[in-house]
Symmetry: C3
Subunit: 642 residues, 3 copies
Amino acid sequence: MYIGAAYYPELWDESEIDHDIEVCKEFGLNTLRIAEFAWSRMEPKEGKFDFGWLERVMDKLHAAGIHVLLCTPTCTPPRWLFTKYPETKTVMDTGERVEISSRCHPCKSSPIMREKNRIIVTEMAKRFGHHPALIGWQIDNELYVYDNGCHCPLCRKNFRKWLKDRYGTIENLNKEFIMDRWSLTYDSFEDVIPPKRSEWAHPSLEAAWFEFYSNLTVDYAEEQAEILHKYSDAPAGTDLMVLNRFSFYNATKKLDVVQLNHYDTARRLTRPPFFYNFIRPIKDRPFWVTETQVGWNGSKTAQSRYRPEGNCYVNTWLPFAMGGEMNLYWLFRAQRSGQEIAHGAILSAAGRPYRVSEEVKQAAQDIKKALPFLENSAVKSKIALHYSSTGENDFAVAPIVETMPYFDTILQKFHDAFWHYNVDVIEPCHSLEGYEVLISPLVPYIPKEDAARIKQWVENGGTWIVGPMTDIYDASLKKNDKAPFYFLEELAGVYTVYQKPIVNDVFKAKWQDGTPAEISTYFDAFRPTDSRALVTYDGEEFDGYAAVTERKVGKGKVILLGTVLGIDDLRKLVDLKPIANASENVRVIERSGKENGIIVAELKHEPGFVDLCGEYTDLIHERTLSGHVEIAPHEVLVLKKI
Amino acid sequence: MYIGAAYYPELWDESEIDHDIEVCKEFGLNTLRIAEFAWSRMEPKEGKFDFGWLERVMDKLHAAGIHVLLCTPTCTPPRWLFTKYPETKTVMDTGERVEISSRCHPCKSSPIMREKNRIIVTEMAKRFGHHPALIGWQIDNELYVYDNGCHCPLCRKNFRKWLKDRYGTIENLNKEFIMDRWSLTYDSFEDVIPPKRSEWAHPSLEAAWFEFYSNLTVDYAEEQAEILHKYSDAPAGTDLMVLNRFSFYNATKKLDVVQLNHYDTARRLTRPPFFYNFIRPIKDRPFWVTETQVGWNGSKTAQSRYRPEGNCYVNTWLPFAMGGEMNLYWLFRAQRSGQEIAHGAILSAAGRPYRVSEEVKQAAQDIKKALPFLENSAVKSKIALHYSSTGENDFAVAPIVETMPYFDTILQKFHDAFWHYNVDVIEPCHSLEGYEVLISPLVPYIPKEDAARIKQWVENGGTWIVGPMTDIYDASLKKNDKAPFYFLEELAGVYTVYQKPIVNDVFKAKWQDGTPAEISTYFDAFRPTDSRALVTYDGEEFDGYAAVTERKVGKGKVILLGTVLGIDDLRKLVDLKPIANASENVRVIERSGKENGIIVAELKHEPGFVDLCGEYTDLIHERTLSGHVEIAPHEVLVLKKI
Amino acid sequence: MYIGAAYYPELWDESEIDHDIEVCKEFGLNTLRIAEFAWSRMEPKEGKFDFGWLERVMDKLHAAGIHVLLCTPTCTPPRWLFTKYPETKTVMDTGERVEISSRCHPCKSSPIMREKNRIIVTEMAKRFGHHPALIGWQIDNELYVYDNGCHCPLCRKNFRKWLKDRYGTIENLNKEFIMDRWSLTYDSFEDVIPPKRSEWAHPSLEAAWFEFYSNLTVDYAEEQAEILHKYSDAPAGTDLMVLNRFSFYNATKKLDVVQLNHYDTARRLTRPPFFYNFIRPIKDRPFWVTETQVGWNGSKTAQSRYRPEGNCYVNTWLPFAMGGEMNLYWLFRAQRSGQEIAHGAILSAAGRPYRVSEEVKQAAQDIKKALPFLENSAVKSKIALHYSSTGENDFAVAPIVETMPYFDTILQKFHDAFWHYNVDVIEPCHSLEGYEVLISPLVPYIPKEDAARIKQWVENGGTWIVGPMTDIYDASLKKNDKAPFYFLEELAGVYTVYQKPIVNDVFKAKWQDGTPAEISTYFDAFRPTDSRALVTYDGEEFDGYAAVTERKVGKGKVILLGTVLGIDDLRKLVDLKPIANASENVRVIERSGKENGIIVAELKHEPGFVDLCGEYTDLIHERTLSGHVEIAPHEVLVLKKI
């Protein structure tokens, strides 16, 4: 288990490092992430490399038993590079080349940028690829399609080629995008201009541009991975942010480990568990949390409000409880100046620990106590929830429902129904082996091969809870002109009579036994053709039509949602028992394998409880527990089954 | 009576048209508006025309008894045109030529754009000018001064010429705009740069630029009208939006019929009646509603909140009740993709009716029942309310009062005082023949000839309720240096002691009998010189001064408002009985002519009532009514006097 | 004592001036501020001057006993100048030269702009430098670093030179700004681009750019002062706005009188007294208020809400009560058109007084009654409060605490604790002679020489209340890497255990006697090393640590604040009696010298009181007062000690 922080030794006197190592030891930090932005120190002049300072740091860390996660610095090329090769700077969608004032500004298409990347990464890989402190690589930093991508002639050319590869002819693209609508019909691929933020742009074009630019960015990262793999056995990843619009599956395809950065306020402590459930199934290897806040976020101002005591403690615990093996803070020592001067850290700029760092220390100690149990057990889920990059991208450009932020709906209305269950959050392309229930809300486009695979899995006994707003688009963000869905009506055995993408509190619904069902956000009214209604609209325009239907398919069933159910109502559709009875504020995680047990974490800073079935050893407090157990605010219990 | 929708057959397989015609018949739609954006399909290559597909559509529609309103497609020239002639693209006020990504982007000055317009319109007019399905023409689409107009060298040159024509010399313009203020004195017309939105620009220049660009746009439309009139007898109009800043009177001067597009939320259902009262008197011919929403508005997101049942029904009825002969929805069938994918329609993209379309069907049936009555009666008004393009333009650039949106004040504080009266809303240039009462709030500039005409009308017996903030500017948006008004003090017989354009709830006022008068928004304090006070300030700074005065002038009188009265107080100034006693939520329309009666419409989705005087036949429900009649939410009663 | 207004005779018929002079006499206005924007009238063509009209105005005013404050018009050069010399126009940080549409647009570096300034100022100074009406000069208008300064090549070059002068080598600048952080290391000064607002820019660079541009602007003004001093004995100043980011001390160093413009809403009537306390100590000469509103502010819309009766009266009185000798309104007569058409004035555009002008008249009369007392007494303070230009600049670019607007914190949490005390608000560079208490919150950077001077003053008996967030940066906005402060820990005898820049209502504190202390905004936790705790955290994370400490130093003491105290708690730290016991809404000012007494002003439009010790003559109401005296809303009492 790796606990540590981002460390920028290039910004401090070399004399500070011994002090910093002492602090690491005192606080139980065994891993530092370094070199992230240090290109100008590693290659101060073109082709002149200086790795001595870095090697000295790594040697010292190794001597102190501290591991190193080494970063490629390609997010921040040196100024001499931009000055000599201005074509390496991103062109904004206003047409101007960006000035170099912060970071993440290189053009991803520039051949010279790519070449300079390859050179520095090769040098690093050769020099440090087998350093004994090295435990892994991070490529670049928080890759994303920033600021609507680069609009230089090369990137535009690459986009046109990408469209040509996908659509073949301009006539076909015109047809798929229906460009005739406003006489916007392209006469050739040369006519295509990437969408600008100032325009009222075509959503199909916007989605395509984001997808193209994502792929270009992934290619930019994979080029580095290839070099790293050549010279080093340490696993390589890239630290991604908590947003799947830039696809995690795509970005990590050729990488070895999934790395995640997250910064959430105290009230949003429900989001990291969602992402842990999402990144755990991607690779067989445990995921790494590469960045999270210690005390507060900040740029020129400290942000994200007050966090109660214990917030850092439980935030530190969660990745280990849920399938990860690393938690690194951003950052070890606060900046003395610059754009992020107000960001929290383990140490202040003055080198003194903040109060919150005591929680890190405590967590490090407690995790150590639970280590054998964690290493001998894993998180396995019977429930899978679809969360798609396509959904993020399509609903970003065409949200359809005014008050339905895609991610928050998935999080709050679906994922948060299952705090007492293990859940895997997966992309539609992910295997369904081992799952009993699959929930697929707001997956606007499902490729045919995935649809076929899901259908097969249902026939073999799976329960598919699908909708609302799933299967509504094709790959070009186009609706079907024959039905509101492409294949779901037939599969679910319904005819869609009406649709209403308008939020209201007028519509009501009830279960077949007459008990009310909570509905919101979006409304489809179905007439069951070869299915039965589970929930029916009650009064108003859709009175009597089905809001939720069920159809037996092979050994399994398809439950179609025409609306967003309340979380208690959603849970009724899942025929599985929770891991344990517990209060709402408590997340319960089941661990199984050589050893078995549960981990219980309080996430809302309120008292809570869990009712245990049988006897457990509380590994942190070294006691035996059973029955009704009270849990203090932000407490974590690691309970090994006796 | 024409009921129908916008139809874009160019976007669908030709095989769909038979299905679509069947739906029209089922729902009682007898009119389709087509070809609005179809230039690229009608002229796919420069000079190569293809009207076959359109002719086949029109023939089929004619065969099915469906009328066609044909649109000129000049709002969306084909991409080949912009590519070959880039000078046809608008230059934004940032200096850049716009990229072609949506619509309404052509420069209105470009000679080549004008020529290409003339060619396509001539071809259409020749080909379809006498087609039996044709009932009228729509020129372009929602003409307006978009995005602050085009700033290309030609448009700037035309603006300078327009200023020279108006002001003669640069010295005179400097004097009229008082350009000396900040040493901004122009040395020649060449110095004039149209105002940019990023500037703190001179309001007189802003107003002039908008007026110039409006005139240029009208000229652009009139050129098309001339061609249509040459080759076709069908009436031509242009579909205008609910905003008179781009002047309705100016835009329709050489056109045959007034066309209106409106999209209001359920709560803003009070706005369309205002506009019907406004556009009814412009031409002798009944007006056309060319666009309104069916269920919901939308772009990439469905907008405008939930509408209760019946909203579409009553919204369909209103234009027919108030003097129109057409109501077309936007749109017949929802888009499959693109910028307006989330807009409501009669049919979904899948070709299925939405629930709300049942209301269209019902309205079509009920209107049919009332048809003879509607054709044998008309709306005539004794009250006229001024609503001026100058007011929209002047208060847009210099609002003066912080919390007084010009249009909403006219609507809510003046027009909405008269829900149980017929009212004509008119431009100050409109004839006053037949009116007994004229209300003129917030008409900042009244040309001398209109002032003389109004005075003559008062002397002949009219009651003129005028103010506040009327007659405060000249044609260049300049205040008088001798008095707060140009002619109103003398005409109203007052001396203006104080003025206060600051909203507050401190000021109170009372009628001469001591009952309180509701006042708000703006405050002038008058001393009657040759008039009498009707309402007097009560306490605070203006205590004892008049807020409202009355002066007899010839056989008539001038009532000067120094403040915005509450609607109940305003009605006290009008010596006319309502058409009927009714609840507040009910609009009452009097129809007279060969047949007589009233139409009653509930607009707030609440129960209401009307007290009938005498006996009426309820034409929709085929019953006889008299006395106190209850009205259901969004119900419409067409009551023919027996 | 000068009371008057800004007057723009160049905008009105010369025939109006006699009328305007009559109004001045009637309202007691004895001073007009003229020529501010009149360059185009004084030099209509390059090198052709026309001062005849201005001389006639000044002659007439002199004849009527009205003084003239003459302005240099360099804020609004004539259009011919910009047309002929486009390099005189500011380049915005988007790269475009600004269009000339309002004011304040000249580049401050342009040699031709500078030359043209010198010429017009020389001509004015020669012509009017000894005019009998002249009482002073105003240079330019509201000088400031507008819109992020000018980004033309010359300004950039000057900035680079300024950086070179300050930092010597680029290596040193890199080190001071820590440019290595994101490999942003400059290779030469030529690499430095001034920060753009669209960038996520380095705060050290932002602060430096603002400081450089301020200095350039001061240089631009001083060049004019030199000319004025050559040809005229009248004192010269420049009218500054209520924001010390553009430093008052710096801007007025070579000027003769401090001039202030302020426009505050009724609720912000607490701000002008703060600024009077700030500008009073800068020069030995009484300060001038060059602009304040009469009735309402306004641009194209009248702004700043309703002001109750009396607000103008008390606002007129305050500068005279607090050490000034001038109060001029903006403006004498409202504009007839243009960007500020909605601004209030003494006369409307029609030449009629507004109601509020009666309050001006009353104030002028009452001030006259108190004149001998005002002339024979002055405001002297024992308390000094630091308000630093560096604080404004540093916290503007790096606010650190999210909900701590720098100025409002100084105003409301520190200055407003002392409504019943005389307080001088001073820059850290100001002499401490005569003060007993110095309060220094939020002074992020204290130069060594100032620190030494303060320490000396403490040792001589001063009480220094310092913090929070004082001494946290060096001159380059960089934190110390050895301690959270540069010198304060040692001086105050504490060790800073923890810091928390996060607002919360969880933290509590108490005085040593157990009574609760109100704390907010920011939190440092100290361990006294050579000091004693005065206020201690009570519960939660910092429980038991000191929030406020005291250390004896020489004959004086240093009280270190680790948090923002409530104003009642802050006052407990000051061992001085108030001038008088009075209600919270009443500001009490002590005047001493040949005559002695107090001035009492009600600022919140509520009833209040003051308890007098001894007998006083009420100079306005000509009566004798003693004991408990009631004060009406917005009343002013001038009480001369008997």
